[in-house]
Symmetry: C2
Subunit: 104 residues, 2 copies
DNA sequence: TGAACATATGATAATATATTCATATGAAAA
DNA sequence: TTTTCATATGAATATATTATCATATGTTCA
């Protein structure tokens, strides 16, 4: 392996490539992609998401945290609930491109 | 869990959602995304790819097979070599969207 | 034909990831 | 201020994924 520092593939550093992979990792799990897709039509609290995608609360919470860390969703408290929403315009585009690919 | 058959999240079936996740899984590994990105500027044989991304031949071959199964790359023989190329127009768009996200 | 080159493949071991369970935290309502 | 509702979190287990090693397959050329 060359030095980590000077590894570059056409303008993208090793670090940026790892970041890219980590980003797409968020879309690579069916629970997470269901959550993202569920949020396409607006914000929802955790309970609603659980019902929509038919997964238990703990699993959903864990994945929501991952999505939030990746800055793909944001959250705010509303009374007892926490409401989640998409936090990136590219999310819809990325998923739409994916849909087009599998529909071919 | 409801019946697998009738589970649907806004027009996408369970099966399509799994397909989507599997597609994005291809972008979620740094070796694979390096390969895809390396093929942005045209076809290359396996040896060239190995050199560009600085990974050993076996690992690259394994990942190329995965990418081919996912219909993201195609290959053809050219003498002793096998030449790989991108096989989907959406690949560039998907990666470009990812780049935009991480650059924010 | 056999040596050299290019790629693919199977098995294994190391690592990463997701779900579940139990429980903690935090807000509201009785 | 205790109970209930909503969400988060840590630990443990189960599963999936990846790189490596050894070797097989296929091609060219002497």
């Amino acid at each position: 392996m060359r030095d980590r520092e000077d590894y570059m593939l056409k303008g993208l550093s090793e670090e940026e490539l790892l970041e890219l992979a980590d980003l797409f990792k968020m879309f690579s799990d069916s629970t997470r992609i269901k959550i993202l897709y569920d949020l396409f039509d607006g914000e929802k609290n955790v309970t609603e998401i659980c019902e929509d995608i038919d997964m238990n609360q703990s699993a959903v919470s864990h994945q929501l945290r991952a999505l939030k860390t990746a800055k793909l969703v944001k959250s705010r408290r509303e009374g007892k609930s926490i409401v989640y929403a998409l936090d990136d315009d590219h999310v819809k585009t990325i998923i739409a491109m994916g849909k087009e690919h599998i529909e071919e």
